[in-house]
Assembly symmetry: C2
Homo-oligomer: 331 residues x 2
């Protein structure tokens, strides 16, 4: 039996047997280190030609994106980054400049969040491969898990979705979107090349939840798409959701390059926007969206029934069920 | 300029510019997390055909060795393991059984030391690649660094050297070492396939150092060979050493398969014995060797002059200078 016969999900199911159930299944593993704090850990492996390619992403941006993806996982748990380690496999004929630019991009992103590269490994391989592990500290009573959502809570997207996917399309097809204004074009491309992990949301969130006197929150990041994040949190929490398609924050410029349906598809399934998708009581959610501004929105509400519907408050479109398998299958 | 033009050391020098000098250069990065404890972190990347091969190491043993190497780095810092993360790249036609056996081997080793796999990543790649990151807790006043050795201290090897290299030779050449007794043969092969990280040495060490009332120690593990460990610690500490070739613990069975010179070469440069090489005041070293027993030995003494000599207390061989570059060059 080969990996392709069982697919990524099948392989993950087998490998999860080797991991304690209570610490896997979230954006980070959370390991208690003292009575008040835990260690949050996340790891990503990136393979040349699979996760990055010089065609769309020069090494600087590949490095930036790799760092951002890991910091976003920490943000999704409510963790403050401590450091990352980087294991790098390069071929004998890999250009030294490529490696330097990759590290320059990585550290440029990490420095914004005061996060050092604490160490690593360098080996040779026929295929350039990078594995990044990020560590953060999370207070035990401020850990954002996927499994804590309750019904009748608001679902907040902390920013625009679909921009990264649009930026990728612009990079892949230079003849695409010629009608875009230069500023909009740059902004979509940057959304793909230099995504910003939303660690800035955490202090605002703590302020609101501390004032409310209750830690009622669940969430994850939208690295695999907004639909995936909503479905994963609903499943882990045993709730359903009603998501309003008219409320999903999609950059206006997308309407100039693709149909409304395509823009919605990119927002839901494009992935790599690295926003947070947070589930919390409606009053807190309203305060949060007011404070974050800039593309953040309440996109839906959780329900007791476990179905997840994409509805249309404008009454134009039929409701339809949000499915996870329109997302990306790695094998 | 390609990676092969500057070699592994050249590449490492470039990449170290991106890391804070005070936290790289030891077996683990050490990150202070609270006033008493630090987080020790180490990462290794393993590539099919470079670091493991079905010819010498089935997936079970490749997994065991990968876990052991990381736990050994923690032991070398004085750290107690907390957990590991595993990032795995597999090809579509990788056998599922290979992956399962690899994880079985890894967890078999980890379970001995009560260390869970806390999470990971699974991606596809043309080349099977594994990145393991291990983290442990180390008390701030019990961190074993490379840079703390002083002159006139003893150098302790916690066990036999050369066994792993001999085991590899037996696996590579089945016609080699036919005269070995079966028990000796198995024991050398197991030294290669199932090395044991020396976490068991730490409680003994703390007892001796606590009783002495002073934390006088430096060290690292011998994953890259005994010579490499001695030279690295001496360089980091600004001392030299006189190593006695007659005191290096080499399994007796090696004398039945190779010359004395070859056995010494394997002990010094073979690597992957995963013992600890500890530098400490002579009285403490004697107590330590008495307590550990089983192949441990004082192999030399540090000196004020920065030269590192391999001498012969039996008077048969000339002294010669220990060099690092007889070790393995990865590019």
């Amino acid at each position: 039996m080969k990996v392709k016969d069982i697919g990524e999900q099948g392989l993950l199911r087998i490998l999860q047997k080797f991991c304690p159930a209570e610490i896997v299944g979230d954006d980070c593993a959370v390991l208690p280190t003292n009575p008040h704090q835990s260690l949050a850990v996340t790891t990503d492996m990136l393979v040349d030609g699979v996760h990055f390619s010089d065609r769309t992403t020069g090494p600087y941006y590949a490095g930036w994106r790799a760092a951002a993806a890991n910091l976003s996982d920490l943000a999704a748990m409510g963790a403050k980054p401590l450091a990352v380690t980087v294991a790098l496999a390069v071929a004998a004929d890999t250009a030294v400049l490529w490696v330097e630019e990759f590290y320059r991009g990585m550290t440029a992103c990490l420095e914004v969040y005061h996060t050092p590269i604490a160490g690593g490994d360098v080996v040779r391989s026929p295929v350039v491969t990078v594995a990044i592990t990020a560590f953060g500290e999370v207070e035990c009573d401020r850990t954002i898990s996927r499994a804590n959502a309750r019904s009748n809570w608001a679902i907040v997207a902390t920013g625009f979705h679909g921009a990264s996917r649009a930026g990728l399309e612009l990079l892949l097809n230079p003849e695409f979107g010629q009608n875009l204004e230069k500023g909009d074009r740059t902004s979509l491309i940057l959304a793909h090349q230099q995504p910003k992990p939303r660690l800035d949301v955490l202090p605002i969130l703590w302020e609101i939840l501390d004032a409310a006197g209750e830690f009622s929150i669940a969430g994850m990041d939208s690295s695999d798409g907004l639909a995936d994040a909503i479905i994963q949190v609903c499943r882990a929490s045993g709730v359903g959701a009603k998501v309003d398609r008219t409320k999903i924050p999609i950059p206006h410029s997308l309407s100039e390059i693709v149909s409304t349906e395509k823009a919605l598809e990119w927002a839901l399934y494009g992935g790599e926007d690295f926003e947070l998708v947070l589930f919390l009581p409606i009053d807190h959610a309203k305060l949060l969206v007011d404070r974050i501004g800039d593309g953040s929105a309440i996109v839906g509400i959780t329900t007791e029934s476990s179905d997840i519907w994409l509805s249309d408050s404008s009454g134009i479109c039929f409701d339809f069920r949000l499915e996870i398998d329109r997302g990306f299958q790695h094998f």
